[in-house]
Symmetry: C2
Subunit: 230 residues, 2 copies
């Protein structure tokens, strides 16, 4: 067997193990009643900025936490911790994606029953994370207006494994000469019927709709009535 064939075979085993572990995680999340939302995108598409605003808002009504993946720094966890919710950094070294085992390890001392909503921010990469199920309920693929309208066509797999496309930095659309209608066409050509959200974490444009969409995925729970009110 040559090296490439062997690599393909070993990779297939890795994927299979990951899928099994992700399925077990999904079951745990379901039992605990926590909605898990992952974010994938290019580096710099605005995952952390969107999360910062989302954590700050959602925490007023829900019990929220986040895991953030990066190769080398803990900058994102530091940024997100300002929202005063539990945040844990997963530092992957040279690994280009998160996998289910990393998520499982990061959650080892968290009680999932204490959460309603858990975000998982992947490493910035529009290719490799597509292959790794993390047990999430909803995967967001972010696309910033500065990246060009044809990104979904050029990176179809990641958009195909995602549930929602989020067009970010819409405040820069004019300066970047971004054609929103062409971007929507690209997304629909790759994944017909895909739900698309347009936001600017900076100006707040579209953010209310995004918060409503998220909230619609969360089940009203008795402890909310008992313990919280705002």
């Amino acid at each position: 067997m040559n090296t490439t064939t062997r690599l393909v075979e070993v990779r297939r085993n890795v994927m299979k193990q990951n899928d099994q572990l992700a399925q077990a995680l999904r079951e745990r999340f379901r039992e605990a009643g926590v909605c898990v939302v992952s974010l994938v995108s290019s580096p710099g598409a605005g995952k952390t900025a969107l999360l910062e605003k989302t954590l700050a808002r959602m925490r007023t009504r829900w019990r929220v936490g986040a895991l953030v993946g990066d190769l080398a720094t803990e900058n994102d966890a530091a940024r997100l911790a300002r929202a005063e919710v539990p945040v844990r950094q997963i530092t992957t070294g040279t690994v280009c994606h998160l996998d289910a085992a990393m998520v499982e390890r990061a959650l080892v001392d968290w009680n999932l029953f204490d959460l309603d909503l858990l975000f998982i921010e992947n490493v910035g990469n529009l290719v490799c994370p597509a292959s790794y199920d993390l047990g999430e309920e909803m995967r967001l693929a972010l696309l910033s207006v500065t990246e060009g309208e044809d990104k979904p066509l050029k990176y179809p797999t990641i958009f195909n494994t995602a549930d929602v496309a989020v067009i970010t930095k819409v405040d820069l659309a004019e300066a970047a000469e971004f054609d929103l209608s062409a971007a929507h066409d690209s997304i629909q050509r790759v994944r017909p019927g895909m739900l698309v959200v347009e936001v600017s974490a900076k100006t707040g444009a579209g953010m209310e709709g995004w918060f409503d969409l998220l909230a619609s995925r969360l089940r009203p729970r008795s402890h909310q009535l008992a313990h919280q009110g705002d």
Copy 2:
């Protein structure tokens, strides 16, 4: 041996094979007197836009060609072909990077002695291409002003394997509230002394300096004097 250990070992073999092939390519490029420049970046950082302008300009004095990697489309080759230089697309399917074997195959019927300058545009990915030597003489790592100043710290390996950092889309710096000085600091922290170029392919800012830098890498050759003049 468990799956992860086996994966690490198979990967090591793949890297070794790639390094050997890249070294052979480098030798072929040197013998043919062609300067090979590769470009790596996030999706949407502006590799193709920079190349479009660079091909159009450099072709007036030099014999230029390009290979462009993408997962799924031939959009970039179509864009670059407008510069009327030889361009070939490498479509990688789901593979997240170019490797030396793909470059070798793409060049199979090209006479390298007919070129002074060959560009290789990698798949948009700030992680995986770092590990694959393509036999290039100079590797550019592009960072657009819309991606944030800390990208070199978060993706240090790719900046460490590159020779030149190119900050792109500087025309959007103000709208994106990009702190150029912080970006320079990030780059120098990751790779002290790294050469940094700032450009806007859209407005032309910084492009003359970039063309001069490229030209300084090309050897004056007799056929230029004999066959060309502008």
